[in-house]
């Protein structure tokens, strides 16, 4: 990293000549305002300059300047990745703020995709479709706030409103336009053929798209995204069941998942309720209190969309009958009758459900892992025990991907961000559980650069070496910031 340079005043002037005087800054307060810690990561550093391009050509030219001067570049669209969209090691280099590229360029109602620029937020995309294409839904993230971008969520392989049905957001991607660190522009999928629509995700020979999905901007700057849009149903419901144990929750829920009917299935323990209501001092953390309030020990939410009420009723019947059968087999399951307001808050997309966990102790971290669905109970037991050991409220969330072929498991670590001791505790917990989880064969989502990445890649050395070789081909001058993957 020592070979990197910081942008000099001359370079800043060059950048201004490219994107315009008013779209490049080295103002310290502005640079500081882009810093973000929490949600997904605790480490990030301040950039040396923020550049806000408007066009692909401007990005090409900025990258060529960065290449010539060997200045690290970190692209960011909405910046919602809790620090993941920021550089994390010195020097911070250029933060490429893509929020000015905010157009929905195309909606193809026959092929059912849209083409968006990086700055299109999920809130804006949702409003646009409600106004113009009410029968279609853009695949916005679920739980991420409305400022999260569609493109950012997709290339992060994030969680969407239909992840149970269609898989991670990246599975909906049909094509990307990417400016490579060398300044070349490449398109993926069928889009790679000049004149072709982005109608088919597999392109000309081996697909290159995967190199840019989950790469956290380290392989190039994604400037356009073609992504599927989905039929939007006005017939929706949410059915919740409570369970006494996490094992019962995982087993009974899997039987529903196997029917492949729900668009979204999210589960968790009772701690999910109090920790997003109020500060710790103002809300009960006693299980008895929440038990009396009707909150189950563990619960599953099944979100269903139907073509009509009859279809919806059919799906409801399937879920209830599976739960009846589970009860006959000894699983303690009981329907959790949600208040209409509770249902509405979950069915609203995009929603702000994930935001208020900062109320409880001041901040929070989503430490997220992928496991096979059946392993989710073991994951929760381990996480629960370790969180208790570290004095961390054991808040646990689990969701299904691709009808339960995978689970996304997430301890929500609430902590006081003003306390260095608490920060150390969080990272110690993270380190200890990482060793355990990796040994079980579980994978981290959006790895922490100082914990998950080194541990993971030390176990998968050959794969990491290949990634480095590929990175070197795409980025021969090494200007894309190493990112959370610590790809040099």
């Amino acid at each position: 990293m020592g070979e990197y340079s910081r942008p000099t005043p001359r370079v800043i002037e060059e950048l201004r000549a490219i994107v315009g005087q008013e779209f490049v800054t080295t103002s310290k307060p502005i640079l500081a305002s882009y810093v973000s810690k929490g949600i997904m990561g605790l480490e990030c550093t301040i950039a040396d300059a923020v550049v806000r391009p408007r066009t692909v050509e401007e990005i090409q030219r900025v990258l060529r300047v960065a290449r010539d001067e060997r200045i690290p570049v970190t692209p960011t669209s909405g910046g919602l990745s809790g620090g993941f969209a920021c550089p994390f090691i010195e020097p911070g280099g250029i933060l490429l703020d893509l929020s000015r590229m905010d157009r929905i360029l195309e909606v193809d109602v026959d092929c059912r995709y849209m083409v968006v620029e990086p700055g299109v937020t999920s809130g804006e995309a949702w409003s646009y479709f409600r106004s113009n294409y009410p029968n279609l839904a853009p695949p916005v993230p679920d739980g991420a706030p409305p400022a999260a971008t569609v493109l950012g969520d997709a290339i992060e392989r994030g969680f969407s409103l239909v992840t149970n049905k269609y898989g991670p957001q990246a599975d909906l991607v049909l094509g990307m336009e990417v400016v490579l660190p060398t300044g070349e522009v490449v398109r993926t999928g069928s889009w790679a053929l000049p004149g072709a629509k982005p109608f088919y995700k597999w392109g000309l020979g081996p697909d290159l798209g995967g190199l840019f999905l989950g790469a956290q901007g380290t392989m190039g700057v994604v400037t356009k995204l073609a992504i599927k849009v989905l039929p939007h149903s006005e017939h929706k419901d949410l059915i919740a069941y409570g369970f006494e144990t996490v094992e019962h929750m995982v087993d009974a829920t899997l039987e529903v998942l196997k029917k492949e009917i729900c668009v979204l299935v999210q589960c968790g323990n009772w701690w999910l309720v109090p920790t997003r209501i109020a500060p710790e001092s103002e809300v009960s953390s006693q299980r008895d209190f929440w038990k009396k309030a009707g909150v189950p020990e563990w619960f599953s939410n099944f979100e269903i969309w139907g073509r009509d009420d009859e279809d919806l009723n059919c799906q409801r019947r399937i879920i209830h009958s599976i739960m009846d059968e589970a009860k006959r087999k000894g699983i303690k399951a009981e329907e959790w009758k949600l208040h209409p307001k509770q249902k509405a808050s979950r069915l609203t997309k995009p929603n702000k459900i994930a935001i208020p966990y900062a109320l409880f102790k001041g901040s929070f971290l989503f430490i997220t892992w992928y496991t096979p669905w059946k392993d989710a109970s073991q994951f929760c037991r381990i996480a629960e025990e370790k969180m208790a050991n570290y004095g961390i409220p054991p808040v646990l969330w689990v969701a299904s991907i691709d009808h339960g072929r995978q689970a996304i498991c997430m301890p929500i670590v609430c902590f006081d961000p003003t306390s260095p001791e608490e920060l150390k505790k969080v990272q110690d917990f993270n380190r200890e559980t990482t060793d355990i989880f990796l040994s079980k064969g579980w994978l981290n989502y959006r790895p922490d650069p100082s914990i998950h990445s080194p541990k993971t890649f030390s176990m998968a050395r050959e794969y990491f070496d290949l990634l480095k070789k590929i990175k070197n081909i795409l980025d021969p001058h090494g200007i894309m910031h190493p990112g959370r993957l610590t790809l040099p």
Partner: protein, 414 residues
């Protein structure tokens, strides 16, 4: 460091910002909200962020500037002050925040920190502060002419005092005259104070706390001599300052603080006020920030779990001007899309109109366009400062929209 101590008071709130950026929108939790034309669902609602685009100009960015200041990464500076002051402190970011961060107070504390650190004032702010010092008003007008819009009812002992405010006294005297005439028509015994001085809002909003305190002291002393039991305001900014800021610095006030909207809404309920003349127009209502979300946010306070009383207050509070408008024969009230706590600011407040007139004007013009899209021919409000800025916007964009203060309208129809 004194500058930092002001920010440190808010440390636990500042660190709650997870940079979710929901604070830049209106209806941030209502993506399916039905509207009209381009006004649907979640919309950008941060005036400064929309204009400048840098993260620093949104509420969330300012929380991270505050955090950097606490951690010593940055120091108060001219460029920091310039960023902070390009914001009308409309309070949208505060009401959208699900982590209950008092962003408006924090932004004002950051401005005060810059003042404490000796960061030079913006020349326009310096000019109006100097005028306040010399003339007791920011408009460079002689103090002696403050009440020249009115011939009688000055300095009398009265239970009810009409606190006019600088803008209505010097720039929108029709608002002052209409409010006074309404009171006269309805038979109220009231008085205005010749020695009324600037309420302190312009100073407070730009971080000049010591200047504001001096003004507060002067007003409180003058009011004490009147023996008033109730102080009535037609200015949203003065009202907000008396309602929220005066008790913070001067303790419990010995009188009731009432905005004319709530005063006349109450008279309407008691059938004392009964508009009889028709006003056959399609009108919409602009919620002034200082009368709207600044007050509801104040009533909510720091509580994370909102009480049913606060919910009821919010609902009733925003209904008051609407009830008055609906009571006028012939009027058709249509809602502008961004309304109540989700209103788009007029762009004038927080020292913006004087120092950054382009931001103020563009913001007001967007409001006029939104009113036009709602199909209204008149835009009614209850703040002479909003009125001034919105009127200027109609002229700048050659709009046919008629902008009126509620009390001007009310006086015509009673």
């Amino acid at each position: 460091m004194a500058a930092l101590s002001k920010i440190n008071q808010y440390k636990s709130y500042i660190y709650r910002c997870i940079h979710c950026r929901a604070c830049r929108f209106c209806y941030s939790g209502e993506p399916d909200r039905v509207g009209y034309g381009d006004y649907m669902g979640i919309l950008m609602n941060c005036t400064a962020g929309k204009k400048y685009g840098w993260e620093s100009h949104f509420g969330s960015g300012k929380m991270w500037i505050a955090r950097a200041l606490i951690e010593g990464t940055i120091q108060p500076s001219q460029e920091m002050a310039d960023i902070l002051l390009r914001c009308p402190t409309c309070g949208n970011c505060q009401v959208q925040c699900d982590n209950n961060i008092p962003t408006t107070e924090i932004i004002e504390a950051l401005r005060a920190a810059c003042v404490d650190a000796g960061v030079p004032l913006h020349e326009k702010h310096h000019a109006f502060l100097e005028s306040i010092r010399v003339n007791n008003n920011p408009y460079h007008e002689m103090h002696e002419t403050r009440t020249s819009w009115m011939q009688n009812q000055k300095d009398q002992k009265a239970d009810l005092i009409y606190f006019v405010g600088c803008t209505a006294a010097y720039r929108q005297s029709d608002v002052a005259r209409s409010t006074a005439r309404l009171l006269e028509k309805l038979g109220f015994d009231f008085s205005v104070m010749r020695d009324e001085v600037c309420c302190g809002s312009p100073a407070l909003r730009i971080g000049q706390i010591s200047v504001a305190k001096q003004l507060m002291e002067k007003n409180l002393e003058t009011l004490q001599h009147t023996g008033a039991k109730k102080i009535l305001f037609s200015c949203a900014g003065c009202f907000r300052t008396f309602k929220v800021d005066y008790p913070k610095y001067a303790g419990k006030l010995p009188f009731e603080v009432v905005h004319a909207v709530e005063f006349f809404a109450d008279l309407l309920d008691r059938k004392v006020l009964s508009p009889s003349k028709p006003f056959g127009q399609r009108v919409t209502w602009h919620d002034p920030c200082h009368l709207g979300r600044h007050i509801t946010a104040h009533m909510k306070g720091r509580a994370s779990i909102e009480s049913s009383d606060v919910k009821k207050f919010r609902q009733e509070w925003f209904e008051k001007p609407r009830r008055i408008l609906r009571s006028i024969p012939g009027i058709e009230l249509v809602e502008i899309y961004r309304n109540r706590e989700d209103a788009w600011c007029c762009g004038a407040g927080g020292g913006v109109r004087s120092a950054y007139p382009d931001l103020a004007s563009e913001t007001a013009q967007e409001r006029i366009r939104e009113a036009e899209a709602a199909g209204a021919s008149s835009l009614i409000t209850a703040c002479p400062f909003c009125l001034t800025n919105l009127l200027d916007a109609t002229r700048a964009m050659s709009s046919q929209m008629r902008v009126l203060d509620l009390f001007q309208l009310l006086e015509q129809v009673v």
